[in-house]
Symmetry: C2
Subunit: 356 residues, 2 copies
């Protein structure tokens, strides 16, 4: 991905929300990366502590975190994201330290962002941006996350190209007022397979660091590109229903699923260890269900003997971001332990928190 960005003269600002690990971050530094993307102030603080000084928080600003944002913006080059007048007004009022600002554009994902055609809403934001000189407008940012709903690779190309045109039209419209504005795009499917990035200045893919079965199904990667597995002990075998139980469930893998060839929900594929050899079982064998700590593997009669109680099997997850987040650290295939961001046990009133 770093090579692709370089070849196309794009700033490569990878999203670190998938791996959430300072140790994995160093791999990116080795590839020449100096600027990153995260999805929370908490994550920005963690990576800032680990030497990253150019960070974009690519989620519409949560104004309740203004104190933490001000504190962090004193220390590093921090970029924020805004998509509505209310948050913009509050930000302009309360931000004290210099920050870069992106306006989020909705190019079809319909989650957050201003529709590219609603330039009056964009103009409104500019009026407020100008009120506070601490805010430096950086450009337009989009996450074309609807590529995750694509049914074919062709559809990914279409979604990407449509988003590209929308971003380019905004760039030309506002270039006279903001000659340095940049266009930032960031979803793994399009950035893995598309080649046309004319008019784009920055890309922010994240999931590609590990990929997963969802990306494989979309056509963003090949099987051998998937670089994460959950190693699980086998605790029970039930031949009468072709099922094997692993110690590994919803609190380890997460419940994201894709539809398998048999029309049922698939939560992971299975790699069996045979001595030093590893065998990838076909899709007739899969993780078919989970409770909190248990997973159920559906295993064909042919392969049932390959797995025994006390073995370790490897599960290839459907959504690597969620599995990584649940596990909290990694081991490399060489056995090195890679810690991730520590889970916050002190929650401030400004972030999501559980209340009993």
């Amino acid at each position: 991905m770093a090579q692709k960005a370089k070849a196309k003269n794009l700033l490569f600002r990878p999203h670190f929300k998938t791996h959430q690990s300072a140790a994995v971050g160093e791999w990116f530094r080795d590839a020449g990366v100096t600027a990153i993307t995260v999805s929370s102030v908490q994550m920005a603080n963690y990576f800032a502590k680990h030497g990253w000084d150019d960070i974009t928080i690519a989620i519409p600003v949560n104004i309740l975190e203004i104190n933490q944002i001000n504190a962090l913006a004193k220390k590093i080059k921090l970029n924020l994201l805004v998509e509505n007048r209310d948050a913009m007004t509050q930000l302009a009022k309360f931000i004290k330290s210099p920050v870069g600002l992106f306006i989020e554009i909705d190019t079809g994902h319909n989650r957050t962002g201003i529709m590219a055609s609603k330039t009056n809403q964009i103009d409104n934001l500019f009026e407020i941006i100008k009120q506070n000189p601490a805010i430096q407008f950086k450009g337009f940012l989009t996450h074309a996350g609807h590529t995750y709903q694509a049914k074919t690779r062709h559809e990914i190309y279409n979604f990407h190209f449509d988003a590209l045109l929308k971003m380019r039209s905004l760039k030309s419209r506002y270039k006279k007022d903001w000659p340095d504005l940049i266009v930032s795009m960031g979803d793994t499917p399009s950035q893995s397979i598309c080649e046309n990035f004319d008019g784009v200045d920055e890309i922010r893919p994240g999931n590609f660091v590990f990929y997963d079965l969802m990306q494989l199904k979309l056509g963003s990667c090949n099987f051998e590109d998937i670089a994460i597995r959950l190693v699980c002990p086998v605790i029970a075998k039930h031949g009468s229903r072709n099922e094997i139980t692993i110690y590994g469930g919803a609190i380890h893998i997460s419940k994201d699923s894709i539809i398998n060839i048999d029309g049922k929900s698939l939560y992971g594929q299975i790699v069996v260890r045979q001595g030093k050899e590893k065998i990838l079982l076909d899709e007739k064998n899969y993780l078919c269900g989970m409770s909190q700590e248990n997973g159920i593997l559906k295993i064909t009669y042919k392969d049932f003997h390959l797995i025994n109680v006390g073995d370790l099997v490897e599960i290839i997850p459907v959504h690597s971001c969620l599995t990584a987040n649940l596990m909290g650290s990694y081991y490399t295939t060489e056995g090195e332990h890679l810690p991730m961001i520590p889970k916050a046990h002190e929650h401030s009133s400004s972030r999501a928190k559980a209340s009993t």
Copy 2:
């Protein structure tokens, strides 16, 4: 639940996997609880450190954790669960410290356990149990988790009564050889609504500590019994599609869902704060989708004005166990912070671990 157990002369051994908190555990101690259930060795170690000395690990024993099990069994009264010959053989070979042993019976959930009718398999386990005097047979344990698939309360009664009969028949069959054997049952739906526990000695419900929307849908609880909410900041409003975006997603709430009245997936219901007042919005307003850090609320035109950017809304989760596990701690309505079990950042080779 403690009162119900007492009235029916049942040992109340609540499952602590839902709350995973020593602080919440103290509430149970205040209600007279002295014996508990957990779902992992890690959880057993955590509660043992917090003064619990009678713990059942209610998941089929993971023999790869034998060293940790031996270490813990030296310190407390530890009960293990077995359901197959392979694990039983290994356990009998390697267990050094005295442990209690339950045989898991499958009463219809079809996840783990020996079918009640397969007494030859049970007899086989007894042959192995007898080989190691450190192992003390305690009785038969079942989790009638198929009550979670019940479509009516009536079906919960049926599943429970069927499981009860199976457990009772095993008790009478083996009572002459093991006069002290007990029958242990443990699922929140049946233990919340059923009244007939004749022949049962112990109950192990867990989820009832907080309940959730899934339990409400099953009829196990009323709305006012649900004692957990995720408080989330509002970051965007999109009137054109009646959607509001919160900072709170799959890594905070988890992706368990139920089917809403409109046939779509519902991931949570919404409570709006109006000054000191709290308003529960009806099911036409709900958490309809999530990405890693974001959630999308579908909000009716009528209620759209009740929620604004910068507000905090409260999400009632579908599955409280998973939400609690993701958040890692609680605040009480009085503002007290209740920590949970720290997430392990050092994974041993004997438990599930992420591999990159």
